[in-house]
Amino acid sequence: MIRGGASMRRSLIALTVFAFIASLGCAKKKIVTEVVPEPVKPAIEETTQEAQKAKPDDKAAAVAAEQEKITEKEVAAEAGKSGAGEAQTADAEAGASKSDSAKKMFVAEVKGVCAPDAGQSAVFESVFFDFDSYAINDGARPTLNQLSAWLSGGGAAISIEGHCDERGTDEYNLALGDRRASSVRDFLVHSGVSAGRLQTVSCGEERPVCAEQTEECWAKNRRARFVLIKKSPENNGG
């Protein structure tokens, strides 16, 4: 039992004041980025309905809810979309823009471009490129000259496919394959072949002829490949 009377009262008051000041000081020493005033009593703050009833001003929930529609709609969407399906959707929706670009494009019936080799055999031997290069090297010239002569002698039209080895990144390899095909086309045009009979396409690193991670295999994949195509009447569109 503590006894003391008036001096005790004074000490207690001083202690209370001191403790109050000290507690204020302590709050500042925490590792704090923000102090969010929280309700002290554990009340239910909010109820979130995770199905389609998201609050319209809650953007994150709205996006989540819309994305959740994917779950429900998906069975119907997949049933409707086959390999040809989405192409048809694109045609239906594109309307004017598609027919405009059709007039600019040389439309050829190219079946299975960048598809597996079976069913799309090359019409001439391929030419090859150095790593990361689209320059026509010396070894390619004789083949290209023969190809040029063959094309000039007949009415064939060909597609020039540009391919890369798998070492680069996917997107850059698509651009590189495109440049390889263009380089070959430019060479052939320069040697007298009519540009209208040459189409180019890039297959990037998507259609390798071999899969080993060896210099020998990579060299085989860095190629331009020649495929015969049929001409079809230009699509005059709607």
């Binding site: 239910i44 703050e45 997949e78 823009s97 050829a108 190219v110 996917d170 651009a175 495109d178």
Partner: protein
């Protein structure tokens, strides 16, 4: 007498200090001095285990929490929260709750307690159909993360990617942790990485169909695909500008792959680079003022930046002979890219002025980096396990692990 008063004063003072010590838990995530010890108790009720496991996995992956092992828990899930049961095992924050099923729906009631003073920092109810249990759990993790750090969690975000099946490519979307993989029904022979619109409601991507390249957009609201722009040559979708209207892309329609901007509202295209080589892979900075891209105009593929109108082209990578695939962090503070290192592709980050390049990966070939919406994580593709698949890691390179388990590449993290 005096010594007794002094001791009393000291004891009372200590008591006041201790009582105020635990009133606010916060973690400074930019420079955490230590990991916050948190206990995730199994939610009582059906599905409670699965929910708790998802919340624990989400919080653990951030790298700023120390999850206390459940084997040390004293307090059973069904019993009410008793502060000392948790302080005894070193927990500073405790997640507890219960789950009920009501005719095909689940309702979870969740509390996040501050163990020092027993107050509930979070008390919330979550309800959804049972099929959305994972998203519900990710929402709990977001809220717990938000209360403890003051920042938005990204556990409800998505990763879009391109799945491979033989020679076919198909667009897919999955949760950030690899859960709930969904096929979008968009297929093609070649589909490079899709890009998200700024509002997260669309994807744009390039696809080659019947030998013709086009840039398409896929709308999540309508679940439909629409052609955006098509032309001769190879078209590769680059990025959206923050206005969600202009799209930047590369096209070889005029011979050499160059960079173009297409305005969907105006229906107009503008060519903004001209070089005799390859300009490709444009990426717009978060503020829309700068574009990073790849060009071989210097003799080898390197990363450059330029203004949105094509002016002020500046090279920023100078190490290595092959640097491609630039992407900006959401704050615009760093650019991630792919560089060749000892014969393989690896992920680097660099400051936009070209300084301070850091390599983050080392095993196998690692490509296609993409930042999470808070910039704390990076999704990428890796072939370290034999075939290309999607991986995620923290932005400092730690915590590398696979997500989704499919043969896939070209991941892109959603913006929200």
């Amino acid at each position: 007498m005096k010594s007794v008063k002094a001791i009393t004063a000291i004891i009372l003072l200590l008591f006041v200090l201790l009582a105020s010590a635990g009133a606010i838990i916060r973690i400074d995530i930019t420079s955490p001095e230590r990991k916050l010890p948190i206990a995730i108790s199994r939610l009582a009720g059906p599905g409670g285990d699965e929910i708790s496991n998802i919340v624990a996995a989400d919080l653990h992956y951030t790298g700023i929490f120390e999850l206390i092992d459940g084997r040390f828990f004293i307090e059973p899930s069904e019993e009410p929260f008793g502060r000392t049961n948790w302080t005894a095992i070193g927990a500073e924050a405790v997640l507890k709750g219960r789950v009920k099923t009501i005719s095909g729906d689940i309702r979870a009631t969740v509390f996040l307690y501050d163990a020092a003073d027993g107050t509930a920092m979070l008390h919330k109810e979550y309800e959804s159909s049972t099929t959305l249990l994972r998203q519900l759990a990710h929402g709990i993790a977001n809220d717990a993360y938000g209360r403890l750090t003051g920042k938005n969690g990204v556990f409800r975000s998505k990763i879009a990617f391109v799945a491979s099946s033989g020679h076919d490519r198909e667009l897919c979307v999955m949760d950030w942790d690899g859960g709930r993989i969904k096929r979008l029904g968009v297929k093609g022979a070649v589909i490079p990485a899709p890009r998200w619109s700024p509002d997260g409601r669309r994807l744009i991507y390039s696809a080659q169909r019947d030998g013709v390249w086009g840039i398409y957009s896929f709308d999540f609201d309508s679940m439909k695909e629409k052609l955006v722009v098509s032309s001769r040559g190879t078209l590769l979708a680059g990025d959206f500008f923050p206005d969600g209207d202009r799209v930047i892309y590369s096209s070889s329609e005029k011979g050499h792959p160059s960079i173009y901007i297409y305005s969907t509202t105006a229906g107009e295209t503008r060519k903004i680079t001209s070089s005799r080589g390859i300009d490709v892979s444009p990426a717009v900075s978060p503020d829309g003022k700068k574009v990073a891209f790849v060009s071989d105009r210097g003799g080898s593929p390197q990363v450059y930046t330029m203004d949105g109108n094509g002016y002020n082209i500046t090279r920023i990578t100078f190490e290595g002979a092959y640097n491609t695939s630039p992407v900006w962090s959401p704050s615009g503070e760093r650019i991630a890219y792919v560089g060749r290192h000892e014969g393989k592709n690896q992920i680097f980050t660099i400051l936009p002025d070209g300084s301070d390049s850091r390599r983050l990966t080392g095993e196998g070939n690692n490509e296609s980096p993409s930042f999470s919406p808070d910039g704390r994580f990076i999704a990428f593709s890796s072939d370290r396990r034999g075939r290309k698949e999607i991986f995620v890691m923290r932005a400092d390179g730690s915590g590398q692990r696979s997500a989704g388990g499919m043969a896939a590449s070209s991941p892109r993290w959603s913006p929200n």
